[in-house]
Assembly symmetry: C2
Homo-oligomer: 434 residues x 2
C-alpha cells in the first residue's frame, strides 16, 4: 500500500494491530532521575502477557560481544519450559551496567508475582542508553499500573510503548487459517543486523510447536532483520521473540513459515523506513556472486557507504560512489575476483557495464527522477537551536531507490535494505541519548 496521509496511516495501523487470541498488553509511563546524569528522564514500561504460559516460543539475540543484561538473561530463558510474559522498558538498555542482571531479574520476579508466574517464565527486554543503570525502584513502583492496564484487543499501546527515537509505531499482521500473526518492532538508529537496535515481538494464536518455531526463526531473521542496515552499528540489545498462544489449530508449518516471513520482512522494511533521518529507503540486490555471503557483503558495503548515502539524500545520481563502494569491498576481500563482467543499474537504468560507465545527460536526468520519486520528505530549515526535525511522522509512501548489481561471476544473490544519510540523522545523534 502507499500511505497518503497521517489519518489513513493511523487507520491502517489500527487494522494491523488487532491482537491474536490469548494475549494481553499493558503499558505505563513515568518520570525518574538517572544515576549517571543530573537531569530528568521518562520511561515507558510495556507488558506483554499470554493468558496461559506457553512452551511454544523462540528468540534470537544480538551477536555484539557486550550484550545487555536482558540478552544474557534471555539466552537462559530459552531453556524455560514455558514463557508467560515479556517486560520491556525503553530509555535505558541495561548494558554492562553495575549489577545489571540482578536488576532485570528483580523486575522479572515482581512481574511473576503479579501474574502468578515463575520468574523464569518472564523475559526482560530493554532498549535505550547503553551504560546507565535501570531505575529499579521507580520501575517497581510503576509496574502495578502496567499490570492493571493489561487488556486484549489491540497491540498498538505496546508498539508505541517500546519506541525510543522511532517516529511512529511499527505493526504488521497477516491472517491465516482463522488465526493471525502480529508483530511489532522498535528500532530507529544503531541498526545493522545481528540484529539491529531492534526489539521485535511477534505474537500468534496459531499453534506452532516449540521446535518448529526455533528452527524457523533464525532462518527468517537472516533474510529479513539481518538484511537491513541504517548505520552499520549492531546494537547490544537486539532481540526478536515469537510466542504462540496455540489457540488456533490446523495451519501447516509451510503456510505459517510463509506468513511469518511476510510479517518479518515487512517489519524489517518498516524499521528502515522509519530509521533516524531517513529520506530514501534503498533496496540493493546483488546477483551473479560466487556465494551468498559475498553478495550480501557487497550490498551492505553499498548501503553503508557514507558517500553513497549522502548522494542519495541529495537526489544526486553520483554513480561513481556506487562503483567505488562495490570496488572497495571487492578489492579488500577478494582481490583476485574477475570483475570484468560486472554490471550495475539504478532504477532499472544501466550505469556501469563491463568496466565502463554508461553516462550521458539524459540518463543523469532519469536517475535523478528515480531518486526524487523515492524521497519521503526534504529537510526544512533547522530550528532555533540548529536542530533538524522530520516534517512528517508517518511513512508518506512505500517507494524505494532500487540498485541492482550483477557481479557476473557466479549464481548466488542477496538483497539488503538500507537508507540515505541526512541532517536529521546528525541532529538526532549529535545531541540525543537514545
Amino acid at each position: 500500500m502507499e500511505f497518503r496521509s497521517r489519518e489513513s496511516h493511523r487507520e491502517w495501523l489500527q487494522g494491523q494491530a488487532v491482537l491474536p487470541a490469548g494475549f494481553r498488553v499493558g503499558t505505563t509511563r513515568f518520570g525518574f532521575e538517572p544515576m549517571e546524569v543530573p537531569r530528568r528522564a521518562t520511561m515507558t514500561l510495556t507488558l506483554l502477557a499470554v493468558d496461559a504460559p506457553t512452551p511454544d516460543f523462540a528468540a534470537v539475540f544480538t551477536r555484539n560481544a557486550f550484550p545487555g543484561a536482558p540478552v544474557l538473561i534471555g539466552r537462559g530463558r530459552l531453556m524455560s519450559p514455558r514463557l508467560g510474559a515479556i517486560l520491556v522498558n525503553n530509555k535505558i538498555s541495561n548494558v554492562c551496567a553495575p549489577d545489571g542482571v540482578n536488576s532485570s531479574e528483580r523486575l522479572c520476579a515482581e512481574v511473576a508475582r503479579s501474574l502468578a508466574l515463575q520468574r523464569e517464565q518472564v523475559l526482560p527486554c530493554s532498549t535505550g542508553v547503553i551504560g546507565w543503570r535501570l531505575p529499579v525502584a521507580a520501575m517497581l513502583a510503576a509496574l502495578p499500573e502496567a499490570v492493571n492496564e493489561l487488556q486484549g484487543g489491540t497491540i498498538l499501546p505496546a508498539a508505541e510503548g517500546i519506541m525510543t527515537t522511532d517516529l511512529y509505531p511499527k505493526v504488521r499482521r497477516v491472517e491465516l487459517g482463522g488465526g493471525s500473526i502480529v508483530g511489532i518492532a522498535k528500532g530507529a538508529g544503531m541498526i545493522e543486523p545481528n540484529l539491529a537496535t531492534m526489539l521485535v515481538f511477534i505474537l500468534t494464536d496459531i499453534a506452532v510447536p516449540r521446535a518448529t518455531l526455533r528452527g524457523l526463526l533464525p532462518k527468517v531473521a537472516a533474510d529479513t532483520f539481518n538484511a537491513i542496515s541504517i548505520d552499520s552499528d549492531t546494537s547490544t540489545s537486539d532481540t526478536v521473540v515469537v510466542l504462540s498462544s496455540g489457540n488456533v489449530q490446523g495451519v501447516t508449518p509451510e503456510a505459517f513459515a510463509e506468513a511469518l516471513r511476510t510479517v518479518c520482512g515487512d517489519l524489517a522494511e518498516d524499521v528502515v523506513r522509519n530509521g533516524e533521518g531517513v529520506h530514501h529507503v534503498v533496496k540493493v540486490t546483488v546477483c551473479g556472486a560466487p556465494d551468498a555471503e559475498l553478495a550480501r557483503a557487497v550490498a551492505k558495503a553499498v548501503v553503508n557507504s557514507p558517500l553513497f548515502q549522502c548522494a542519495v539524500a541529495g537526489n544526486d545520481p553520483n554513480v561513481g560512489r556506487l562503483v567505488c563502494a562495490v570496488g572497495k569491498h571487492l578489492g579488500r576481500h577478494c582481490p583476485g575476483l574477475d570483475v570484468s563482467r560486472c554490471r550495475m543499474a539504478i532504477g532499472g537504468h544501466t550505469v556501469f557495464d563491463r568496466g565502463v560507465f554508461r553516462l550521458d545527460p539524459g540518463l543523469e536526468g532519469d536517475l535523478a527522477e528515480h531518486l526524487k520519486r523515492a524521497e519521503m520528505y526534504r529537510s526544512g530549515p533547522p530550528d532555533e537551536h540548529g536542530v533538524f526535525r522530520p516534517p512528517v511522522s508517518w511513512p508518506v509512501h512505500e517507494r524505494s531507490v532500487v540498485v541492482s548489481i550483477d557481479l557476473g561471476t557466479g549464481n548466488a544473490s542477496a538483497a539488503v535494505i538500507g537508507a540515505d544519510r541526512t541532517h536529521e540523522y546528525i541532529s538526532e545523534n549529535a545531541d540525543y541519548r537514545s
Copy 2:
C-alpha cells in the same frame, strides 16, 4: 605546533613548502564543459618535474577493484627505468571512463614532448568525480601554461593545485643531513586506507636507492596513510609517490626512513584534520590484542561508527556507543574472544573496565570537557540554501580526542586516526561532486 590564526598558519605553511633541490612545479587553471552534465566546471593541472629523470622512485596505489586509469598506468610505470614528471589533475578522476587509459596516455605523451622525456617517464594522477571522461582537448590546450609556470623554490602552488574539497593545502617537511623531504597531500572525503582518496607526492633531494625506497614506502604507508579513516570509503584513485632527485649524499637509510615516517604520519593526520566537515580528530589506540590486524580493525570499527562519530560531534560522551562499536566488531569477527578484561578510556579517564561501565556525573563532565577542548569549530547556521560551511579554512589547533582500548587478551596493538560526523559532511556530500 598549535595553529592560532590564519596568518600564522599561512606563514608556517610557507616554511614547510620549501622545495628540495632538483625539482620544479607549475600549475594552471581553466574552465571546461564536462561531457556528462550540462554545466561548467573548473580544473587545475599540476606538473611536478625532476630536473633529471630519476631511477629512484616508488609508489603505492589503491586496492579498490575498480581503479582509475592513472592507477592502471601507474602500476606499469613502476617498471620504467626512470621517472621525470608527474601530471596531476583535479575535478575528474578518470575512473572506468570510456577510453580512459588512452586519454591519460595522450596527456603523458604531450608532457613528455614538452619536457624532452619519454612518455613512460611521466606518471599521470587524477582525482575528482568518478565516471566522467577527462576533457583531453581542453587539458592539452592548458598544458603549455603549466609547463611555462614550472619553477623551483616552493611546492605550495602544487599543494593548492591538487585540492578538491580540501579547505587548505597540506604540506609537511623534514630536514636532515643537508637535504629535506617535502610531502603534499590531497584528500578530504572518501578517506579510508588502502589508501584514502588521497594523492600524496613526496619529493626529496636525499639520495635513496630505488630498491630502498620501494621496500620502505609500503611499510610506512601501512602505519600512516592506511591507518586513517574519515568515511570508510576507499577511493578508486589513491596514490602515494616518492621521488628522489639524489642531490644530497650521506644520509643513512635508517635516518631517511624515520624522517619519511614523520612526513607521512603528519600528512596523514593533516588529511583527517582537514576531512570534510571534521570538527574533532579522534585518535584510537587498541592494545592487548591477540594480533595487530584485529587491533587495527577494532580501532577502525570505532572511528567508522556513525553513532560514535555523531556523539563526538555533539561533545556528547556517549560511552555506550564506544562499547557498542567495539562489541559489534568483536562479536562478528571473533565471537569466542574472552573480553572479560577489556578496558576503555577517553581522554585518560577509564569509562569501562572488566565488563562494567564506570560512570558518574563528575566523570561525565570531565569527558565532555575533553571533547570540547578537542573541537576545532562549531557548526554555525546554514546559509539560505540550507548548506553548512566551515567557518574556518585552517586548522585552529592540533588537539585530538584520545580513545584507548585495552582488549586484555594479548600483546599486539595499533593506532588509527579518524574523525567525527557533522552537518558540514552531509552538506558537502549531498550536493557537491568532488
